[in-house]
């Protein structure tokens, strides 16, 4: 088969001296879906950025359709027919979905002005064609991360690239959406396109990839046919040790309700009812999973619980004490932490050091400051411990967050939030972009917290994660609770599906479901 892309002996050294790709060679055959897997920081994104012209390699060659190419910018890449969906989405936050879709390729009116109507039509058309729903006239900054992800994918598809690079496109998609995306990808393949696909979800890799390249520690370890490998093999090649995929279920001892939500409603700026009289409890010793298709109110719910958004109506109490109207600081001090859905926007300050990111919620507490003075020595020590404990790949505590790989940035956020030892943990996509090995660690930490009597609220697009960890599950649809599963051990992702899509509501069934 023809090779559409071939990279040979790529060397990439970042400005701070980190070698991210070392003699990396990869050959992608035309008309295949080629997965690239590897631990956090293995160099996957770096390699893709080089192919797409965002980063420049110091050594090595790239051939596209047999010809040697010099890709100096994304513009060059797009021109020769390469498209890319980035791990950290690169959309203009102040522009609408439609404007973002056509950016760089705008339909014009009178040869000068953006034809907004036309852009909207194009967006709807593309959205229809590929089965990913997006609201054309909403600004990107007002959308939950999962919807942004859809926009970014559609944008790349719309460009009609021959080689499409997808860097963790499914990390915040629900299984249903992933299904739709995969159908699209298979269709594209049928049309003769080639796809490079990065994911930490190995079942996805098995499901869709023809070939798999495994990277470890800035090198390519191996490239094989996907059919030759099991998920287990891949994980082992990636990490170099064994990993468990079991649902771990310790006997739970449920305690009192720590976090209690009653009749919570939220009407947004556009007068849309986003949350509709939600009521639920999160009890000590349990993980309450929140399942749902992105955009059904999860983002707003989480922001309200953590004090970042004010609800229109309802009550939230932690151990009986009211949380509504309190500042995020006061809420945190009552014993609540928050792993946000978008690590880049809320979770970190990219430009500054790991240390300064670690102390965000505790810099004013004893041990980190004395009076007004920050105790930098102790802060550095604390940071070193977190880096070690959470297995974060970073040069030092003074490394800027922007020099970390996506998964490692996620670990920074998780490390900070979980290490504050809160009573209530609000976790939105806590393992987003984290590799299988570290995912196991985060899951273990959440379970340990649960066993120590904490209350955990887990909102995740990853149903496997929800089913693996949760004690109980509620399904959110259109701002309301569509179903409530008391015993997770008996259900599968398939049972949740109809509720997530709003095809079924709780009243209609009995048996497994109870209120």
């Amino acid at each position: 088969m023809e090779k559409i892309l071939e990279a040979k002996d790529v060397l990439k050294v970042y400005e701070n001296g980190v070698i991210a790709n070392r003699a990396v060679s990869i050959a992608v055959e035309e008309n295949t879906i080629h997965a690239v897997v590897g631990e956090n920081g293995a160099g996957k994104t770096t390699l893709m950025k080089i192919i797409f012209g965002i980063e420049q390699a110091q050594d090595g060659e790239i051939f596209f359709k047999g010809e040697k190419v010099h890709i100096r910018s994304p513009r060059d890449a797009i021109r020769i027919g390469i498209g890319m969906v980035h791990q950290h989405l690169m959309l203009a936050p102040d522009l609408t979905v439609a404007e973002n879709m056509v950016l760089g390729n705008e339909p014009l009116r009178a040869k000068l002005f953006l034809d907004t109507d036309r852009a909207g039509e194009i967006t709807l058309q593309v959205s229809e064609e590929y089965g990913l729903q997006v609201p054309p006239n909403k600004k990107i900054k007002d959308l939950p991360i999962g919807v942004r992800q859809r926009v970014e994918i559609l944008k790349a598809l719309f460009r009609n690239a021959e080689l499409l690079i997808l860097d963790e496109p499914t990390s915040v998609l629900t299984p249903q959406e992933t299904e739709v995306l995969f159908k699209t990808l298979k269709n594209l393949k049928k049309q003769g396109k080639t796809i490079i696909f990065i994911s930490h979800k190995l079942n996805e890799v098995k499901q869709i990839a023809d070939r798999v390249t495994i990277m470890r520690d800035a090198r390519v370890i191996d490239t094989r046919d996907a059919s030759e490998l099991t998920e287990h093999d891949i994980a082992q090649l990636m990490v170099g040790r064994d990993i468990s995929f079991e649902r771990i279920r310790a006997p739970v001892t449920l305690g009192e309700s720590l976090l209690s939500v009653r009749n919570l409603s939220y009407v947004n700026d556009e007068a849309i009812l986003v949350l509709n009289k939600m009521s639920f409890d999160v009890r000590s010793g349990e993980i309450l999973g929140l399942a749902g298709v992105v955009g059904n109110g999860q983002t707003e719910l989480v922001r309200i619980l953590t004090g970042l958004l004010q609800p229109s109506e309802g009550e939230i109490t932690l151990r009986g004490e009211n949380l509504i109207g309190l500042s995020p600081r006061r809420i945190r001090e009552k014993g609540l932490c928050h792993i946000p859905e978008d690590r880049m926007e809320d979770g970190v300050a990219e430009e500054t050091t790991l240390e300064e990111n670690f102390i965000l919620d505790r810099y004013y507490k004893p041990g980190f400051s004395k009076g007004l003075r920050l105790l930098w020595k102790d802060i550095s020590q604390h940071s070193r411990e977190l880096i070690e404990k959470f297995n974060i790949l970073a040069q030092s505590t003074k490394t800027p967050v922007s020099a970390l790989s996506g998964g490692n940035i996620q670990k920074v956020v998780v490390a900070r939030e979980l290490s504050s030892d809160p009573d209530v943990i609000i976790a939105a996509h806590p393992t987003r972009g984290i590799d299988v090995g570290s995912e196991e660690m985060v899951h273990r930490l959440l379970q340990e917290a649960r066993d120590r009597g904490k209350a955990i609220f887990l909102a995740s697009a990853d149903l496997d994660e929800i089913l693996k960890l949760s004690t109980r599950v509620i399904v959110i649809y259109n701002g309301g609770i569509a179903a409530h599963f008391q015993d997770v051990s008996k259900i599968t992702a398939g049972d949740l599906g109809p509720y997530m899509l709003g095809v079924q509501r709780e009243e209609a069934v009995s048996g497994k479901v109870s209120a």
Binding site: V13, G17, S327, P328, H338, Y363, L372, W376
Partner: protein, 353 residues
Amino acid sequence: MEKFLLKYFTLIRVIIAIGIGIVISVFLIYLTSQEPGFSLRSFLLGPFLTRSRLAHLFETASPIIFCGLAIAVAFQAKQFNIGAEGSLYLGAAVGTAFAVSTNMPAFIHIPLVLLIAGLTGALWSFIPGILKAKWKASELVSSLMLNYVAYFLGLYLINYHFRDKEAGFLVSFKLPETAWLARFIPDTRIHYGIILALVLAVLVYYFLYHTTAGYEIRSTGFNERFARFGGISVFKVIILCQVILGFLAAFGGMTEVMGIHRRFLWQSSPGYGWDGIIVAIIGRSHPLLIVPASFFLAYMRVGGRVLNLMSDVPAEMVMVIQSIIILLITAEAFLSQWKYRITVRQAERGGAA
């Protein structure tokens, strides 16, 4: 060698930028002057050649340091308040008014006058702060507008209420000696203001990098959503940093009045607030870098003045030359490719081992 280059890259970059700026200046001076050699010497060496010019360098740097520090505090929180000029002007006017109408021993008079000036500036700068924090009004616009208001208010205060009619110029009464900042080098006007400026540079540095409030300010600057997310009161930060800005600028303005002129004689705004913006940019908003940056700008200004007085180079060309040099220094990306190549070579060497 290469390690050394990497370590001092920023410094080396500034030196090279200055070098290039000088080459361009030489070229421009040759173009416009009949006696280029002499003109060039006036510009580059002029500031060092006489005692009074050397003193002038220090006198000029002093208020610029205050304003640079002021702006830097706001810039660190990404608050683009450019109101140092207005706070300085109004603060100095009110401080002067207070100084000339009171009488007390120097050891109380001096700190009190400085404090009153500083608080006036702080209060003035509180306005764009609260407008931003509460109603999201751009501090850039409001502080700019308020500069004009401050100017006319200050002018009104001095010209209508504290004007010395005997002076023959539009100036305020002379400050009582108890409110003078002493000059400590004979035959110059270098006064204790410069010492205060240097001390404040260290204090502001300490405040920004070693205190919790400084952390709050910088975190807000890095990513406002992040700060909010972690429980930092962004509202407080926005106001705090602008109040500090106003205080520092007005404080600096007052030292200038108390040490140099000893009366308020600015009929037009002196422009230190604008120079403060330039040095804050050159010094990357770092308090300790603001000091050399201010001396450099003072050097440019004094050199320009000498050039203007002594040679036939037109004043406009002097401005052009100054601006080119400043532009080169402030350009972020200048030489970054070069640094990058060295890093790569270093890493490869390390990587191979």
